[in-house]
């Protein structure tokens, strides 16, 4: 164990891998071209689906930043999606539709929730951290259920999408698609920058060996809390987009199963590689839909696939693509 940790850090600390821009660039290019399918057939439905997948990719990148980089396995990240979504929904009911205001509220609310729950949760480690984040996620879920004024457990239908200085620029399927893609790229690049920065290196150092980081003068707590808040804000952004896309928000956004799905996305793609989070989210959302088209019992196929990935593809699918870097 000890040797492995030293070896990993020796390999990783000097220079984070910046070289591998090829795969994400390819992914983003493919995504950008998705609307072209519309030329071949009536694929508005597919466009909506890919938009949804990209939204989950944003949340998965957020989770990967906490989970992969910081070793903080949050089992309550769906709460941020819900909070981002509910902020948009509640402002819509109040008649506020300006994108800047709504976005600020969504992200602000997620940040506050992350700060409050993170400052308590980060006192614990390992499995206990998993469980305490689950607890906070469930609390948020039940609060959403009890919001009778905003639909209770039925959820809340938004009357319209957000507007930019009073104009409806995000209403169209294509406009919204490219908005989400642009935000996905932005989130990805920021997460990458964060991961490669000194801040990211401290996080990874604390994940590998907390005692060593403390010995060289770093208290990991503020670093972890910051990472947790950033991660929560990214998931909150995804929640905002999800509410805007479906013009609907409900407690179902924040069930523990949804939090589990996010972890599965990150794990499937490959932990601590932000590319993997995108890949995992796309595969989970798209495979679910495609397999469901083949057979209603698609889980019988998808379940064993996950087992095989866990057993044989250490480091997730991205590990297979890149060849084994982590043994």
């Amino acid at each position: 164990m000890q040797d492995a940790a030293v070896e990993t850090s020796a390999r990783e600390l000097p220079r984070p891998r910046v070289a591998s821009f090829a795969l994400p660039a390819l992914l983003f290019a493919l995504l950008a071209l998705t609307p072209l399918i519309g030329l071949v057939g009536p694929e508005r439905y597919l466009l909506g689906l890919v938009t949804r997948a990209m939204i989950f990719a944003i949340a998965a990148i957020g989770l990967d930043l906490a989970l992969g980089c910081g070793g903080l396995v949050s089992f309550g990240h769906a709460a941020f999606i819900g909070i981002g979504g509910y902020a948009a929904g509640i402002l819509n009911v109040a008649g506020i539709d300006d994108v800047a205001l709504v976005l600020a509220a969504s992200l602000g609310a997620s940040a506050l929730f992350a700060l409050a729950t993170g400052s308590i949760s980060l006192k614990t480690r390992g499995v206990h951290f998993i469980m305490i984040t689950l607890a906070f996620g469930q609390m948020a879920y039940f609060v959403a259920n009890s919001l009778k004024a905003y639909g209770g457990d039925d959820g809340l239908t938004l009357t319209n999408r957000v507007t930019l200085v009073g104009r409806d620029v995000f209403g169209g399927t294509y406009a919204f698609f490219y908005l989400v893609l642009a935000l996905l790229i932005l989130v990805y690049l920021s997460a990458r920058a964060i991961s490669a920065s000194r801040f990211g290196r401290v996080l990874r150092g604390a994940k590998d060996n907390e005692t060593r980081m403390a010995a060289i003068g770093f208290n990991p707590y503020p670093f972890r809390l910051t990472a947790y808040v950033i991660s929560g804000v990214m998931a909150g952004l995804a929640g905002f987009l999800l509410a805007e896309q479906s013009e609907f928000v409900s407690p179902a956004f924040m069930t523990w199963q949804r939090s589990g799905d996010l972890i599965i996305m990150v794990m499937l793609g490959g932990i601590a590689s932000l590319d993997g989070a995108i890949l995992g989210a796309l595969i989970v959302v798209l495979a679910e839909e495609m397999l469901a088209g083949v057979t209603e019992h698609w889980r019988v196929i998808f379940g064993p696939f996950l087992v095989l990935v866990a057993l044989f593809a250490r480091g997730g699918l991205i590990g297979l693509v890149r060849g084994r870097r982590h043994g």
């Binding site: 006192k123 206990h128 039940f142 589990g260 019992h297 019988v300 379940g303 250490r314």
Partner: protein, 306 residues
């Protein structure tokens, strides 16, 4: 809140508590001794109920169905251990989460394919149907009392097994330091198998017991699994005694909270506010309890590992 209602709800709370204990006991040992997160444990509870329905259909006897279901649940647990789980010991927790999550998807959908999506039910055994008068004008179903009795019986059996047998000694040693037990020459692989099969059987037992009173459906284990994790974290991972006390605590807090939260809130809030906040607070109580326990005693009420 009348005394009769309080008594009934306390009994209901105990009943939920012993069910949680049956599930949590296996979970906490598997987690504590093998350091293995088994999300598929809830599936084993669900399968117990389906086995009971199937075997009852074949044999027509509740007792025979119970015995056959226990054997089947244990066999299935052992099969999973041999084919999949043993390759994941010592791996990252998240690999285990991914694999066991895949198993949940597969088994639940498989059950849905075989038995159909509608829920099934098991008739209550003749001998245990009916109700008895606990207090004047307070009737309580005998079967529910039987569940409580069975749960407490299992708890006593486990106490004896864990504290007064050789295997139990190894289990306790394994929970506090598994590599050391292995280094002392104990066949740790076999110990793991025994614990796994036994845990699966207990979860299956819980499934059989609830089959007559709950609807038997493919996702019946999902929410109970999460509650069982809450229980083992509150109790202290690896501690059977902790699991027992935490299970009763969670069962009582959850049941009594749901019945009385609105009433209690009404003493400090307006009636409408209490009616709105009550159910939310009641659902939250177990999680508030867990968060508080983790905050003040991060290793749970009965910590095992140092």
């Amino acid at each position: 809140m009348s005394t009769a209602l309080l008594a009934v709800q306390t009994l209901n709370g105990l009943q939920l508590g012993v069910l949680l204990f049956l599930i949590a006991a296996g979970l906490t040992l598997v987690f504590g001794v093998m350091d293995f997160i088994n999300l598929a444990h809830g599936v084993q509870y669900m399968l117990g109920a389906y086995f009971a329905v199937t075997f009852y259909g074949v044999t027509g006897s509740f007792l025979l169905a119970l015995l056959l279901s226990l054997a089947a649940a244990m066999a299935l647990g052992l099969l999973l251990e041999i084919v999949i789980f043993r390759h994941l010991y010592g791996r990252d927790h998240l690999d285990q989460v991914l694999a066991t999550f895949g198993i949940i998807l597969f088994v639940e959908e498989g059950v849905r394919m075989i038995f159909g999506p509608t829920s099934l039910s098991l008739p209550m055994p003749e001998m245990l149907s009916g109700a008895i008068e606990l207090m004047p004008r307070l009737l309580y179903p005998i079967y529910r009392l039987a569940i409580i009795a069975a749960g407490i019986g299992v708890a006593i059996l486990l106490y004896v097994l864990v504290n007064h047998t050789r295997v139990g000694m190894l289990v306790r040693a394994g929970a506090s330091n598994a590599p050391m037990v292995s280094a002392l020459g104990v066949d740790i692989g076999r110990l793991f198998m025994i614990i796994f099969g036994f845990g699966a059987m207990l979860a299956g037992f819980a499934g059989v017991m609830v089959a007559p009173i709950l609807s038997v459906e493919p996702n019946m284990g999902d929410n109970l699994l999460i509650l069982a994790f809450v229980v083992i974290v509150i109790g202290g991972i690896g501690s059977v005694r902790g699991a027992f006390i935490a299970a009763l605590l969670v069962g009582l807090v959850d049941t009594l909270g749901r019945s009385f939260a609105s009433d209690i809130l009404r003493t400090v809030l307006s009636s409408s506010a209490a009616n709105q906040a009550g159910p939310a607070l009641a659902s939250m109580l177990t999680y508030v309890l867990m968060a508080a326990v983790l905050f003040f005693r991060p290793a749970g009420l009965f910590p095992v590992r140092r």
